[in-house]
């Protein structure tokens, strides 16, 4: 998750990333700060209390293989669960059901039915 924050009058890009269980990495420009339970005990992590515990890594579902989107089972705004069927991708030789690797809300659908996609192309973004 990237945010633009004003720190001491200057606008800075802040990126929040998950760093293992109960740890959060915050990047401010090139500097990295890791906050976790241990540091919390020492009273350093003031910011962590305001961050909800969730997965901050990029939740993108990509095409595992080139093909044509033959069916779409979810829409933007839907909540999907891990292993839930998202769409069908047909190739010349196979039918492929693509399932989600994450729990999350469908933030953006980047493909349409009957659209050709390349291997590795991002199909949907979850948040």
């Amino acid at each position: 998750m990237k945010l633009k924050l004003k720190i001491k009058g200057k606008e800075r890009e802040v990126e929040i990333l998950e760093e293992g269980e109960d740890k959060v990495k915050i990047k401010v420009g090139e500097k990295e700060f890791i906050f976790g339970k241990e540091k919390e005990k020492k009273g350093i992590s003031l910011i962590q209390t305001s961050i909800p515990r969730r997965d901050f890594s990029k939740k993108e579902i990509k095409a595992p293989i080139a093909g044509v989107i033959s069916e779409i089972f979810v829409k933007e705004g839907d909540f999907v669960k891990r292993e839930q069927k998202i769409l069908s991708l047909s190739t010349m030789k196979m039918e492929n059901e693509i399932v989600s690797d994450f729990d999350g809300k469908v933030k953006k659908f980047l493909v349409k039915k009957n659209q050709e996609v390349k291997e590795g192309e991002t199909l949907i973004v979850l948040e």
């Binding site: 293989i65 030789k93 196979m94 039918e95 492929n96 059901e97 399932v99």
Partner: protein, 180 residues
């Protein structure tokens, strides 16, 4: 000869053998299990185009071991070749493969292969379905010019179980390289 490794689940009537195979694979049924049906109510092929599946035909799906997706693409074509070869070798008929997944006899469809995968970060499961028109006596008007059966071509009844075992054995032999 009885093959202890040949595990088969037979159904009198089924929605689709591929559908059933996916369900069973998801609930932990072992790879190489065969799901066969005497009749499919909603058999389908590529792009969910329906596959005429009345009593008499041979309809089965195989739960495959986990493989790389690129291997599975090859596998569909390979399966079509094996079906064609089985027909050629056992019944002295000359088949033609319509790539990637159909087998023709006298320019009419006699068999089709459909591989289906469920994919997340990796391939969760794969099933290979084969529909072979063995003992079908007659096709509906709209299919008459496009489909045929071994019985129509040979004029005699065939043993579905024997044909299934031959195809299965050959497939397993050829696919030794694709394993978990």
């Amino acid at each position: 000869m009885r093959d202890p490794e040949f595990k088969i689940k037979n159904f009198k009537e089924i929605f689709s053998t591929n559908q059933k195979a996916k369900e069973l694979a998801l609930s932990g049924t072992a790879p190489w299990t065969v799901i066969a049906a005497e009749k499919q109510i909603a058999g389908y092929g590529k792009e969910k185009v329906s596959w005429f599946s009345p009593q008499g035909g041979l309809y089965f799906s195989i739960i495959l071991p986990k493989s790389k997706i690129e291997d599975l693409q090859t596998l569909t074509i390979l399966a079509a070749f094996i079906v064609a070869k089985t027909i050629n070798d056992n019944f002295s008929l000359e088949t033609l493969i319509k790539l990637p997944n159909d087998v023709l006899l006298n320019q009419k469809k006699v068999a089709g292969v459909l591989t289906e995968n469920i994919i997340g970060k990796d391939v969760r499961l794969s099933v290979l379905g084969i529909g072979l028109n063995t003992n079908i006596e007659k096709f509906p008007k709209e299919l008459e010019n496009r489909a045929t059966s071994l019985k129509i071509e040979l004029g005699r009844e065939l043993n579905n179980k024997k044909i299934l075992k031959k195809i299965f054995k050959e497939l397993k032999e050829q696919l030794k390289t694709i394993s978990e």
